[in-house]
């Protein structure tokens, strides 16, 4: 069943979908991966409003190193990952040691994502400021791809690259889900003092998931920059994108492995679907999708706090156990 679905998904480029639909699928997978990365810590009670920082660090490290120093994006990506891990430790360690949780954690990380955005804007001589930046192209003279520069004009290459990364993200999610750290962190999010008293190292457990989540998110930033070949401070850092990640996960469902991906698919389909359905009218109402999205978020958090997939899974389980009971 699982493998059949995967095989179906892997065949996507050969269904003759055309560039636009393939692009949509790639974006779903990419954001699905980023949302999955966020949910690794978010579902364990560490609700971060600062993941825009990691996305931005990943995206800007790779593009800046390439444009200014000609450093290959492969090394640039590594630099971005290391930088994100460092920032995660610098912010995470004191937060966890001094027991900054809940609202306060959310707001400290919010400050972090704003700091990242402002630094990118302030370094406008290097980064292009709010106008954004484009990696120098390595695809001159009809050369369709350059592995060293991590630039491919063919969407199929990107589809498979991002599919693999997305699967890896899901694999990490399941690993964390089945590991001891999850149990430890669940205990911590219930009652931190009690968890510490039975010998759980609170700081280390939290730092562990934070590091994984931050590093994965920054890889998402690298992929976004290399795939879109354009980044700007608003789309990869700051409060807007950070909140978008949180909400994508909530809409999809935080506690099931495919929940964040469902959230990404749902949000993308909502805006694209409205664009297609409304046609020309959409141009007159440019923010209609955002309005519906905001309204749905409010309704979701009030009525479906487990998200689309979480609620569906629960309903399915209830249904099948009721059937099993009836059979008996």
């Amino acid at each position: 069943m699982k493998f059949l679905a995967l095989a179906l998904l892997a065949g996507t480029p050969f269904y003759g979908l055309g560039n636009y639909l393939l692009h949509l699928v790639i974006m779903c997978l990419l954001w699905g991966y980023v949302y999955t990365s966020w949910s690794i810590m978010g579902r364990l009670g560490l609700v971060s409003f600062g993941h825009g920082a990691f996305l931005g660090i990943g995206a800007y490290s790779v593009v800046m190193l390439w444009n200014h120093f000609g450093v290959s994006p492969w090394i640039g990506a590594l630099a971005g990952v290391v930088a994100s891990a460092l920032v995660a430790v610098i912010i995470g360690l004191p937060c966890f040691r001094f027991k900054i949780v809940g609202h306060y954690f959310a707001l400290v990380t919010l400050a972090l994502s704003e700091v990242t955005r402002l630094v990118i804007v302030a370094l406008r001589d290097q980064t292009g400021g709010s106008l954004g930046a484009t990696p120098n192209t390595a695809l001159a003279q009809g050369n369709p791809w350059s592995l060293g520069a991590l630039q491919f004009s063919d969407k199929i290459v990107w589809f498979y690259a991002i599919l693999v990364v997305w699967l890896a993200g899901l694999w990490v999610w399941t690993k964390v889900d089945r590991g001891m750290t999850r149990l430890a962190l669940e205990a911590i999010s219930q009652e931190e003092e009690a968890a510490a008293s039975i010998g759980i190292n609170v700081t280390r457990s939290k730092l562990f998931v934070t590091l994984i989540s931050a590093v994965m998110t920054s890889i998402g930033g690298v992929l976004y920059a290399q795939y879109q070949l354009y980044i700007n401070p608003e789309t990869v850092s700051g409060i807007g994108i950070s909140l978008q990640m949180v909400f994508g996960v909530i809409v999809g469902g935080m506690f099931v492995v495919l929940g964040p991906t469902v959230g990404a698919v749902f949000t993308l389909l909502l805006s694209e679907g409205l664009r297609l359905a409304l046609g020309d009218a959409f141009k007159q109402f440019p923010a209609l999708d955002l309005a519906i999205y905001g309204l749905m978020l409010v309704l979701f958090i009030i009525y479906l706090p487990k998200g689309i997939l979480g609620t569906a899974t629960d309903a399915w389980r209830k249904h099948s156990s009721a059937r099993a009971a009836a059979r008996r």
Binding site: V47, H103, A111, L112, E114, G238, L290, A291, L297, V298
Partner: protein, 288 residues
């Protein structure tokens, strides 16, 4: 060297003026947090709606400016009450983080609603007040007005909370939510009143901001984060702390922005915030 000093002095004085405004911005949010224990992430967006309300009434409907402002304040106050009734009340007993997130949904909604109604173009009132010069320093008149009104607004709120029956009930609820219903105070009513009051303060801030800045749907994102951080820095719900934090933040932004560039002023302020959180997580003046 002397010229440098007078510009630095100008930056410091401008910082004080900005501080008054920031104090007013964070006061409503702080009040709501102190009483209802919910952070409205969308608070800055309510201010944005207030700015558009003043713009629509004054520029599009040709109301006199002061009447438009009064109506704007009333409108945002109503919005605050509705916000509590329809968004916060259903999640009052949910996890705290869900309460934070639900207001984030409202943030997107309000932003989109403003875009639908007014488009993404920058709008302004078209009121241009002349700058005030003192010696070699010059200050913008709207900023001075904003400072004075903000100080008056803070003072009136303070008097309301300490001198009136309703204000006393609000403070009592914020100190002990479980016991007050037993003393004959209806918490539901107090929550709605507080939300409306917070909304009215957002409306007042909107009237002051609209004199200085152009309006666009994303303007909330530019001063929203700073507003929350001020509240947290002062100790969430601690209004005196919020006032102190507003003036400290304003100095970082103004003087830091004067010495480096304006974004660096904000960066320094935010980094300072993160550092203080590690040193005193309960806020500058917050109790243990």
């Amino acid at each position: 060297m002397e010229v440098f000093d007078i510009f630095l002095l100008e930056a410091v004085l401008n910082g004080i003026l900005l501080g008054g405004l920031l104090a007013l911005l964070s006061l409503g949010l702080n009040l709501i947090f102190g009483v209802i224990d919910v952070v409205w992430i969308c608070y800055a967006e309510m201010i944005m709606i207030g700015m558009y309300a003043v713009y629509a009434l004054h520029v599009q409907q040709h109301w006199p400016l002061l009447a438009a402002m009064a109506a704007g304040i009333a409108f945002v106050a109503l919005l605050g009450a509705l916000m509590h009734q329809f968004v916060i009340r259903p999640v009052l007993s949910a996890e705290p983080i869900n309460q934070l997130l639900v207001t984030g949904g409202v943030l997107f909604f309000l932003q989109a609603a403003a875009t639908l109604a007014f488009g993404i173009e920058f709008k302004n009132l078209g009121v241009r007040l002349p700058p005030v010069s003192i010696g070699e320093m010059s200050f913008s008149l709207p900023r001075i007005i904003a400072f004075m009104v903000a100080v008056a607004g803070v003072a009136v709120t303070w008097l309301f909370l300490t001198r009136s029956y309703l204000g006393t009930a609000i403070r009592a609820i914020s100190q002990d939510r479980a016991i007050m219903p037993l003393m004959g105070v209806n918490p539901d009513r107090i929550f709605v009143v507080t939300s409306a009051l917070g909304g009215a303060l957002a409306g007042l801030s909107a009237c002051l901001l609209v004199l200085q800045y152009d309006i666009h749907p994303a303007i909330g994102l530019s001063f929203g984060p700073i507003t929350f951080l001020i509240c947290v820095l002062g100790g969430l719900g601690n209004m005196l702390g919020g006032l102190a934090a507003a003036f400290i933040f304003a100095q970082f932004i103004s003087v830091g922005g004067f010495i480096f560039a304006i974004e660096w002023g904000y960066v320094i302020a935010f980094v300072f915030f993160i550092a203080v959180m590690f040193w005193r997580p309960q806020g500058l003046l917050g109790g243990k």
